[in-house]
Amino acid sequence: MLALFKSHYSIGKSILTLNHPKEVIKGGPNSIFKIAVDNNLKQVILVEDSLVGFFQAYKISKDLDIQLIFGLRLSLRNSLKEEDENSDHKVIIFAKNDEGCKLLNKIYSKAFTEFNGFLDYNRLGSMWNENYLKLAIPFYDSFIYANKFSFCNAVPDFSFTKPTFFIENNGLAFDTLLSNEVNLFTESGKKFPTQKVKSIYYTNKKDAEALMTYKIICNRSFGKNRTISKPELEHFCSDEFSFESWKNKNVKV
């Protein structure tokens, strides 16, 4: 099972930083690289919603001699037309090498400077280079999730690449339902490859409350009095998005 780390640079999603292990102080936020060093990880897979933390991650991973695999979680739509607004869903684009990092930067720039943070399959396909990039379909917020669990009408076009579909199990009530749908679409890995993964947003299971607090702060709005007793965070019902959970199920690194 692959560990997919996310840092606080993905606003409101994670409480882990990208700090150098030397900078981590007791009682302060933990760092993905501190976790990596403490657990002898030779590789860190980082999936972020932006490229803001990329350079920091690159520098520190180089300093620590840890292989960094960077993935950008990007919104895609059927097309850029207004009528396809409700087809919004996520994909993850991994850079395979240095050229991939440069191309990822171009894709990110296009999405965020020309199209309000999203692309369509047509534009992504036109920029695609199979030697440099790898497409993955996240478990949550994918086109499968969006079509099945919301009033979304996403029609993916994988004519330019063969993506890998991620499967997770974090103790959410619909995890099994969603897994079944992924297996149905991928024909249990025969049509498209699948990979078991775990998204990691905090170190230990007990830190779920700290993430909840952070999310409450990020989601604050007028007229809403959100607290730990009344967080109003839909389906925030699991403490399994932790490194501890991944380690328990995946002792061999």
């Binding site: 099945k148 669990f149 919301s150 009033f151 103790g171 009530a173 619909f174 995890d175 099994t176 339902l177 779920a208 409350e209 909840m212 730990i228 007793s229 009344k230 967080p231 109003e232 965070l233 839909e234 389906h235 925030f236 019902c237 699991s238 403490d239």
Partner: protein, 207 residues
């Protein structure tokens, strides 16, 4: 269709809890009530206070549920026995599982209950859920159910619209069902009212 199926077995349940946190093991379910029914006929009503030594209710929960510590101490029972009996119905595939906002709340409270007793999560009953909150939204929006009924309900669970009222109280008013507002948020009263709502809903939507 359910409206004509007089033999269909139902369990309609509701928890009262310490607060609205869906992940904390401190949010203990302290009251569990359920109705067992066949068609529109109620076969059995069960109402349990669940004994925990370290129950901490939020002030809001105390107020809303009118929590009475003396009543709780007097009536509360062994959590394991209560859970086993409840799950003998919940995991029985002959039963349709009914409740208000089950998909967004009670399934996770049941999961906390299981974790507190050292059991693994088991959401295998979720596919048999008929959530009256989701169905109410569909009725208001004049939506017809899809073949994948559970996914359709999940879509509705996440659907929000300003001024759309689908609470138990709002639906009781809508269906002109007599109710005592002071008894709402006592889970046994809620499931009694909830089942009445469900029996009205199945005449409004083809399930």
């Amino acid at each position: 269709m359910l409206r004509f199926n007089k033999k269909q077995k139902y369990i309609c349940f509701d928890f009262e809890t310490c607060n609205l946190n869906l992940v904390s093991l401190d949010n203990k379910p302290w009251q569990l009530s359920y109705i067992i029914a066949e068609g529109s006929k109620i076969i059995k009503e069960e109402d349990y206070y669940i004994k925990w030594d370290d129950l901490i209710l939020s002030e809001e929960a105390k107020k809303i549920t009118r929590f009475n510590i003396d009543k709780y101490n007097k009536l509360s029972k062994d959590p394991l026995k209560v859970l086993k009996k409840f799950e003998s119905y919940l995991y029985n595939k002959d039963y349709i599982v009914i409740g208000q906002n089950l998909l967004g709340f009670d399934v996770y409270i049941h999961n906390i209950y299981r974790k507190l007793l050292g059991f693994d999560s088991d959401f295998s009953y979720v596919e048999r859920i008929y959530d009256t909150n989701c169905i109410a939204k569909a009725i208001k929006k004049n939506l017809k159910p899809c073949k994948d009924f559970i996914y359709w309900q999940y879509k509705l669970n996440g659907f929000r619209e300003r001024n759309m009222r689908t609470s138990i109280k709002a639906q009781l008013k809508q269906y002109k069902i007599d109710f005592d507002e002071n008894k709402l948020h006592d889970s046994i009263y809620d499931v009694q009212m909830n089942f009445k709502i469900f029996l009205k809903q199945i005449w409004q939507i083809d399930v």
